[in-house]
Amino acid sequence: MRLMRDATIDTLCAAARKDRDILFISADFGAAALDALRRDLPEQFLHVGICEQNMVDLASGLALAGKQVFLYAMAPFITARCYEQTKCALAAMNLPATLIAVGVGLGYDHATLTHFTPEDMAIMRALNGIEIWTPADDLVAEALAHLCVTQPAFRYIRLERSPLPRVYSDPTAVLASGVGVLRNGGGTAIVACGALLENALMAADMLAAEGISTTVIDLARIKPQPTAALVEALAGCSRIVTVEEHMREAGLGSAVLEMLADAEAMRPLRRLGLTDGFEVKNGHRADLHRAYGLDATAIAAAVREGRG
């Protein structure tokens, strides 16, 4: 399976070969696909060192000079580490730069707390004018890279560290609306994004075997909020369970609540996510999901409980 980062960088590299104003900046973070870009387009690849603050200020200057800039680093460091730079040097001037993060949520499972991003959606979606996407598979990541090249804007792209199974054969619709419907059984809707869609789909399968039908929704774009598309996707659903590798505050579940409130389409909703004091655990991501109540079993239980 192709990594999201390779799908993204291959696409950007192809575009950069035709447009010398496209620049790719890495803060000491790689990818297999990056080798070709570094080798063939050395003028358009910048290694800034482990200096995320300068990476963003530099990108600001380059963007002010008309360059189309893509910034690339591990998720915790391209978000929280240089947040104030992003706020002042990019957001405040609404510059069309793209922040590409790898390893969102609990992606760096064994690295634990310093490498987790249990707050990235909260802080990034508070930025003025930003667009935020979480691709569900490599095809969506590739399509998003095309979008960034052809329609430059201030964006934050949340890539998975590990490959994910494809959930879309054609990403056109989810890119257009920001919302993808992966199962459409009505009843309770499970809303997630990225890696947790796999757990949501497993939960849906478990419940289907019990005769409980569900809807599974991919909230691919969390900002601008795709309110109308989400409400439409939820049309036949009486309840909602959201699940995220993020603190329950100000993440995906909160965004769903905000959209429902804005649309005056509230309905019972249960948020699964990280809670204050969540303990550090050694183990693979699946072990962490079990420990934090984000696995298919926990999602299925949340769906069943609410039906009573």
Binding site: S60, G61, A89
Partner: protein, 276 residues
């Protein structure tokens, strides 16, 4: 492009600029006089001394040099210059910080002549590095001038950007350090020692020259190093006096954003109008 002036004319410009900034700030009772006054001669050298390429009436001329005041609390010192250059009508100065005016206490990038937002410290050197790198890639020969405060050099981001600019030999980038010795709470050397600042910039791979930041001959000599650094970016440590020109503000940290009463206001106006 504006033609260069004689040293005596530059001194007259510096006097005019101090008065114009003082009038603007006192009218609004908002702003930072001492931080502005320490870099007046630097600004006058850049905009009127033939150092920077400036095009009157054309704030967006593609061949202009890009000037950033990274110590953003003093960026409003540029407004009288911009009005004088015809970037916007001079009557805007009277609307400084007012709801109906476009000139804010902190410089917004939408103001003609302002190259990038500032206010938060530590961003300008990186932004200037991006401008200088893009210019080189595009085969353009404009320069980026960045004025940073000495207190601003406490920000770690400055040194990340300094590393980058030296590694990439961005000799179109000039950083002027306004070494006025003061931050808000007192003398920098008492708060957290910065000296030897010149040695620090030099150790980061920059060509460094020190200057008397209130003496045009000294500043012009320092600026003459541009293009003569063996490919290094240039740091000019401009030794200055915070509040220069108003005796009770000079070197006194407590005046950072304080407004004088009527008696001191009159004294300040008298001192600023002293014949050169």
């Amino acid at each position: 492009m504006a033609s260069a002036m004689t040293v005596n004319e530059l001194k007259q410009r510096a006097k005019w600029l101090r008065q114009a900034i003082f009038d603007m700030v006192m009218e609004a009772r908002q702003g930072h006089v001492p931080s502005s006054f320490s870099m007046i001669e630097t600004l006058v050298a850049l905009y009127y001394g033939g150092i920077a390429r400036i095009y009157a009436q054309q704030p967006h001329h593609p061949e202009r040099d890009r000037i950033f005041i990274s110590k953003g609390h003093a960026a409003h010192a540029l407004y009288p210059i911009f009005a004088d250059l015809g970037f916007f009508p001079a009557d805007e100065l009277a609307r400084f910080t007012r709801p109906e005016g476009m000139l804010g206490m902190y410089a917004d990038f939408r103001i003609p002549g302002i190259e990038g937002i500032s206010g938060s410290l530590g961003h300008g050197v990186g932004m200037g590095a991006g401008i200088a790198l893009a210019a080189r890639q595009n085969g353009e020969d404009h320069r980026a001038f960045v004025i940073v405060g000495d207190g601003e050099c406490y920000e770690g981001s400055i040194w990340e950007s300094a590393l980058f600019a030296a590694h990439h030999r961005l000799d179109r980038l000039v950083t002027i350090v306004d070494r006025n010795q003061l931050c808000i709470l007192g003398r920098t050397e008492d708060c957290l020692q910065l000296d030897d600042l010149a040695a620090k910039w030099s150790a980061f791979g920059w060509a460094v020259v020190e200057a008397d930041g209130h003496d045009f001959a000294s500043l012009m000599s320092a600026f003459s190093r541009i293009g003569d650094t063996g490919g290094k970016p240039l740091a000019i440590i401009a030794n200055t006096v915070k509040g220069k020109g108003i005796s009770f503000m000079e070197g006194n940290a407590s005046w950072h954003n304080k407004m004088p009463d009527a008696a001191l206001l009159a004294q300040a106006r008298a001192e600023l109008s002293t014949p050169i």
